[in-house]
């Protein structure tokens, strides 16, 4: 039996909440819609802040601690706003044996940021991916959505610095 609870109002009148609300409603506002709802919220806002987590949890009748548990379990969800630019470094096996380690080391040396960190000026976030499935381009990185394959650390750092 679904728990009966009052549906909360969205945290603000930002139109993007409509998208989140619709995605949840299509799944009957049931607890199993949690991950889909978090996807919708992150797509809409770029990250998940506390108001989004509360809103989703209250709508679906999921305890807040569980919402937080789910949002922190999956690496795809991010609770912090990302930098203006993002650089995703693939660390899949093919990229690893073709130099992904050197790329990450090069970024850390050159820009002083580690994976999952954002530069202090908020310009650039460095992320890693388990495998982009683009093994033919190894080592591969994605800079602001564009894949760059067979790239060296120095070349990449130069590009990132130029941004």
């Amino acid at each position: 039996m679904p728990v009966l609870h009052a549906k909360p109002a969205p945290p603000s009148d930002d139109k993007r909440w409509k998208i989140v609300e619709t995605r949840m409603r299509r799944m009957g506002d049931r607890p199993y819609a949690l991950i889909e709802a978090l996807h919708a919220a992150q797509e809409a806002f770029g990250y998940l802040d506390e108001s989004a987590l509360n809103y989703v949890g209250d709508t679906l009748g999921v305890p807040h601690s569980r919402v937080y548990g789910v949002a922190t379990f999956y690496s795809y969800f991010t609770l912090k706003p990302q930098g203006e630019h993002t650089c995703v470094v693939c660390t899949g096996t093919a990229c690893y044996i073709n130099g992904a380690k050197e790329i990450l080391a090069g970024i850390e040396r050159g820009l002083g940021v580690k994976p999952k960190q954002t530069t202090p000026d908020g310009k650039l976030s460095i992320l890693t991916a388990r495998c982009l499935g683009a093994c033919s381009l190894a080592p591969a990185v994605i800079v602001d959505g564009a894949v760059m394959g067979k790239i060296g650390a120095a070349e990449l750092v130069a590009q990132l610095e130029a941004m």
């Binding site: 199993y32 999956y74 795809y76 093919a94 044996i97 992320l127 388990r130 982009l132 093994c135 894949v147």
Partner: protein, 561 residues
């Protein structure tokens, strides 16, 4: 790792960009799978269509297709009439292609395409690179939905399971559990509501088979799932797909919509009483969700942690109901088996491993890409004949199969045939089908450390041996790699690996020590070189040399001023 590879953000566009009104004399198949897409393949399609129109080539068809397989040479365009494959095509330089298209004679026969293609046997990937992944007509034109229609018209669910049983099909997700056995368990399990789930949470690093299948031939998965649903009396299906594969997700969603519209999904499929519908559920970046029970938890909107089995999902799965979970490639084989017959399928293969297997070749290999070969082909044929050997002609060192639960197979066994059984005998594992080739520039201890790092990062944290053990194993391997370890540490490594293997709750933890076992089995000398000689034979590891003989953790700490 909040990856958001917007690279492959799908672009909505028409099926064939140029379709001749009359007879098609020549065609250009532009690969629009993820790897080529990231190299502007879509611009090629658009530009090529425009230039064909400008050149007055009204009898030329330009269409996007799924993966052409030879990803290393992308972006790729094929002229199927002649079999010519254009590699590394530039969107701004299509003159050569136009010339080739002009010169195709009507009724031309394809010329041989070389061993990369000819040694392959395509079943699960038979439509890959042939059909437009977003065109139902194209799929039907290649025999699509014949199998489902025949099943619904002429067969009982028992008969369908019988055919699958006789084909010898086994789960392509890794463990190789007989598919028909699973189907029968679900069919016979008590419960009004049953589910079919397609496991498309392809997480092994260096594996991209499922991605290519989903991007290239999504209808095939839907058909396979529908047949399975009929065979196990299920009415609802889910495809659990990695969110990191946006192109695959988009194509699946399109395919579902088109199939629903055409009556291949939904109520009363093909005018029978059979009802089955499919929804896509997105993963969110957790490798462990490839494990069945974790996947179910994730579909239910929970933390993707596995639970002990039994009860198996076939009896108590999604929402507590009997649930069939098969992986993408398994479902991709089903329509072909039903269409061509169990005997045909069973005639391919070796021993208890029947049919074909799709492999993703990657690493230090010339022809990085996707291949499908009959079970029983030797590693040498796959790596050298199809894969083109090692980059720069360097010496082959090992091939890693089975992902983080797999192992590294050395050169001595290159002539072993590939099957579920032989790989296990060699201390590795079929896994989902990633094959990472390594040459003398890879250090095997470092590779073991890499996989352990992966496992500890992806451990869900539920059970103690995996949560703590994988980290302890990684710490030991790291110590060895840095030249700080003793022989006693090596003993500890072996002892602990055994504990983690035996005690862990799910396959992730149980399989995590496998890369250690296999590298110890074949490359013990490399471990000893790090420990005894304090040297990395491949020159990969940074051996920490200290002014005095004490190891790192016994170095005095500088007092702050």
């Amino acid at each position: 790792m909040s990856e958001q590879p917007a690279a492959a953000r799908p672009v909505r566009h028409r099926a064939a960009v140029a379709t001749p009104a009359g007879e098609t004399r020549a065609s250009a198949y532009v690969c629009e799978a993820a790897s080529c897409m990231s190299a502007q393949a879509h611009d090629i399609t658009v530009n090529l269509a425009a230039q064909c129109a400008a050149a007055g080539l009204t009898d030329v068809m330009v269409k996007r297709v799924g993966c052409l397989g030879l990803c290393a040479a992308g972006p790729l365009v094929e002229i199927p009439q002649t079999g010519e494959l254009f590699a590394q095509v530039k969107p701004g330089d299509l003159g050569g292609l136009i010339t080739a298209l002009k010169s195709v004679k009507p009724g031309a026969t394809p010329k041989p395409q070389g061993p990369f293609f000819e040694k392959q046997l395509r079943v699960a990937t038979e439509n890959m690179g042939r059909v437009d992944p977003e065109s139902l007509e194209d799929y039907i034109g290649r025999g699509g939905y014949e199998a489902l229609q025949r099943v619904l018209a002429d067969m009982t669910s028992t008969e369908v399971r019988e055919v699958v049983s006789q084909s010898g099909l086994r789960g392509r997700g890794g463990a190789g559990y007989p598919t028909a056995l699973k189907w029968t368990t679900v069919a016979k399990a008590e419960g009004k509501q049953k589910y079919v789930i397609c496991n498309a949470d392809e997480g092994d690093p260096g594996a991209f088979m499922d991605r290519s299948v989903l991007e290239s031939d999504p209808f095939r998965i839907l058909e396979g799932m529908a047949i399975a649903a009929f065979a196990v009396h299920a009415t609802e299906g889910y495809i659990y797909c990695r969110a990191e594969y946006p192109l695959a997700v988009a194509r699946l969603r399109t395919a579902i919509r088109l199939a629903q519209r055409a009556g291949f999904l939904g109520a009363n499929i093909a005018d029978t009483s059979f009802t089955f519908d499919v929804q896509v559920r997105l993963g969110a970046g957790a490798f462990v969700c490839g494990e069945e029970t974790a996947l179910i938890a994730s579909v239910e909107g929970k933390r993707g942690t596995p639970r002990p089995r039994p009860p198996y999902p076939a009896v108590e799965g999604l929402y507590g109901c009997p649930t069939l979970i098969n992986n993408v490639e398994t479902f991709a084989n089903v329509p072909a088996i039903l269409r061509k017959g169990a005997d045909w399928y069973a005639s391919i293969g070796l021993g208890k491993s029947r049919g074909t297997k799709v492999f993703a070749l990657a690493g230090r290999i010339v022809n990085t890409g996707l291949v499908e070969v009959p079970m029983g082909m030797t590693l040498r044929e796959i790596i050298y004949d199809i894969g083109g050997g090692i980059i720069d002609g360097r010496p082959f060192k090992a091939v890693q199969t089975g992902g983080p639960s797999g192992g590294c197979i050395p050169a001595d066994y290159l002539d072993s045939p590939v099957s579920y059984e032989t790989l296990i005998d060699l201390g590795s594992f079929m896994g989902s089908g990633g094959m990472i080739v390594m040459d003398d520039t890879s250090c095997m201890v470092d590779v073991a450390r890499y996989f352990q790092d992966f496992c500890r990062d992806e451990s869900c944290g539920k059970c103690v041996p995996c949560r703590v053990g994988t980290t302890q194993l990684w710490m030991l391997l790291d110590k060895i790699c840095r030249g700080q370890a003793s022989l006693a540490d090596l003993d500890q490594l072996e002892r602990l690996a055994k504990v983690v293997q035996k005690m862990s709750l799910c396959g992730l933890g149980q399989g995590a020590p496998n890369p250690i076992f296999s590298t110890l089995r074949y490359f013990r000398d490399e471990y000893l070189a790090h420990i005894v000689d304090k040297r990395c034979p491949a020159g990969v590891c940074e051996i920490v040399r200290l002014p005095d003989a004490r190891p790192l953790d016994a170095q005095p700490t500088e007092v702050p001023a």
